[in-house]
Symmetry: C2
Subunit: 409 residues, 2 copies
């Protein structure tokens, strides 16, 4: 391999399979000896030795110290050069925006959270992203050219290959808007990867949370909508059109309410934040719950799913029933998916997942009541341990994972 | 790489990743030049050149002729050595057994189908498999030592890693019975891979049928039960415990009949062969259909799903309604899985899938009525084109795929 003189050309090069596997393994396992690298990648020691030499020459990896000796000379440990490059992770919600600067090891150097209204459209929102990112790199004395990738999670369906949103219901003005070119001037060397927020949260848990030791599992986000990020063989699975995991419109009840999508009984018309709040407000107005009526009055005639959770914790029977039925409906749909997919882990996250322990236990009971024993034998069902961190960590990981991949910027 | 002198040690060696990728690519694409191999595997030309040399030395591949010239000397094409080894493919059903002998290119040299009763237990059934396989190799002058793998599809849930059945409902006596050791004496060099019949059928279509050009899709078998073989990234996906695709017990109707599993409204209690036949027999006995009554009488008081299909084709209204409702129920469950998995292809196979065009069109209409537009934009839903061949071709492919894999025999 010729010596690469142009640092920034090297940064975006397409790595050969053994090189990519070595980088991926260091990303996953941390510092390793060449022998360890050969073991985890399945390549021969001689191949891994030359791969490490190539990556050292490019500047991606560096020897960081001695490993444990098994008798003779202590083997050298290799790791990323943390300052080989930097990435920006962006977690965009309907009403909030979090931007983080991470180094090449994935360590987050800085993060900032600001309120936004994504309905103001792409021009205003993307300009905010860019301003926050430029502020961060300036503070850390990182040059724009050193930013090798931006990973952006957005609250809508994404056509992953092209990086555009596809008819997002809560993001007017964003349909098929080209996001990648926006950053070309400010970050000339950066690849821009756009993915939907649930995939990004799943990637966060896969990289640094509960998903590290699981190969086949999924992340369920319950918020304004209900979506699912699928991990297959240790990687985010996006399906034929990138729409995999869109479970909010699975039929949960043939006699249920009509959904905004036009179908009847969609899961998210029954168990997401808005129907939980609406059912509670209706009960409060009908005089069936004093506690819910109190929250309704405090909110000036509006209720949130979080308040329904609080009422349930205060012992309100109606609120409890609503939380329990919503959890159960989610669990019954997940039971079908457990039979189909046989995951070893389901993580539940998103704003509405925090409305009390009863919610999670109702989801669990819905799943176990309808899944096959073999499919649930080793199944864990937990709340997302990273909570709010999953998004921004996942977005940084999205950027890092694709720095060397063959995705057009 | 040292020269391998012992042919049969070489046969079962664990290949390094680039070697395995080269073999896999030749299996998928047929004869290729070294340059083509580098292109399809993503490795460098120099790596592929040495990999091909290694594989030639081991005896797995051989130069088979000239490729197309792009100006200079015509490049040499490499392919498998067809006689490097042989495999046995076994498609075991509840009442039939098909055994095939295939060469190393996957070409089937001989196949035989005999009636069996799988309930006679593993000793009798496996002895039949062995006898048929030994007959076949004798006819083709293949020595037992040249058989490198047996791939066996069975009609029950399989723990893939250990190759045993797990509480199979229609195979009494087979629960956790060790299948692999049975063949150790007759085929001392053979790896034995056991998988459930639906995965094997999916693998058949993936190897030589409609699935070749699709990465993410699934195969649905409708017979006595209903099951699904899932393909993820061009490979059979088995889930955390090997139970992935067990869709027969997904709830299709909360007010439906009780299933033999104890739950209410399972898909296979509504839409598999037995409930189709039972509903038709009931209608015949109640005097609601002359045509069904005729079949019931001909069958001595018994009806099959196939006969319900024939009655529907003869214009019987009740039979038509039963076929249509069963297809619709399957389609509605598949709609949920389409939203979750976003496949590009669904193949419908199994005995009951042949009960008329109305069945497939009802499945289609059930899927499209409840799936999201983005998820079905590029979705094809077809009858399995390989039909009865999918099982035995898939079983041979199962054997070939694992010859070099690190699965204990």
């Amino acid at each position: 391999m010729e010596h690469v003189t142009d640092y920034w050309v090297a940064a975006r090069r397409h790595l050969l399979p053994p090189q990519a596997r070595a980088v991926e393994s260091l990303r996953k396992h941390g510092p390793l000896t060449r022998t360890d690298l050969a073991d985890v990648t399945g390549y021969s020691r001689s191949t891994m030795t030359s791969v490490v030499n190539e990556l050292e020459e490019i500047g991606i990896v560096v020897e960081t110290g001695d490993g444990e000796s098994t008798g003779g000379r202590r083997p050298r440990v290799v790791n990323f050069r943390r300052d080989y490059g930097y990435v920006i992770g962006v977690d965009m919600g309907a009403t909030s925006l979090e931007v983080a600067l991470a180094d090449f090891s994935g360590a987050i150097l800085e993060r900032v959270l600001v309120p936004i209204d994504v309905r103001e459209g792409p021009d205003i929102t993307l300009a905010q992203v860019q301003r926050l990112a430029l502020d961060q790199i300036r503070q850390h004395e990182v040059r724009p050219e050193q930013v090798l990738a931006l990973g952006i999670g957005v609250p809508g369906p994404v056509e992953f290959a092209s990086g555009v949103l596809n008819a997002p219901p809560i993001m007017p003005g964003w349909n098929r808007h080209p996001i990648r070119p926006f950053f070309r001037e400010a970050f000339p060397n950066a690849l821009v990867i756009v993915d939907n927020d649930v995939n990004v949260m799943a990637l966060g848990e896969l990289t640094a949370g509960a998903g590290i030791s699981h190969d086949n599992w999924f992340f369920v986000k319950v918020g304004t909508g209900i979506g699912c990020g699928i991990v297959c063989g240790g990687q985010i699975y996006r399906g034929a059109n990138g729409s995999a995991g869109d479970i909010g419109h699975i039929c949960a009840d043939k006699n249920g309410p009509t959904c905004h999508c036009g179908n009847v009984g969609c899961l998210e018309a029954i168990a997401a934040g808005p129907p939980i709040a609406a059912r509670a407000a209706e009960a409060a107005r009908a005089g069936r719950s004093r506690i819910l009526a109190k929250y309704l009055e405090q909110g000036g005639g509006r209720l949130t799913a979080i308040e329904v959770g609080l009422a349930a914790e205060e012992g309100d029977k109606i609120a409890n029933e609503i939380v329990r039925e919503s959890g159960r409906a989610i669990g019954e749909v997940l039971a079908s998916l457990v039979n189909f997919y046989n995951p070893s882990l389901i993580l539940i996250g998103g704003g509405v997942s925090n409305i009390g322990l009863m919610f999670l236990s109702s989801i669990r009971s819905g799943i176990f009541s309808r899944s096959l024993p073999l499919a649930t034998r080793n199944l864990r069902i937990d709340a997302s341990p990273m909570r709010e961190d999953a998004g921004v960590v996942g977005a940084s990981a999205l950027a890092l994972t694709h720095v060397f991949a063959d995705v057009r910027g």
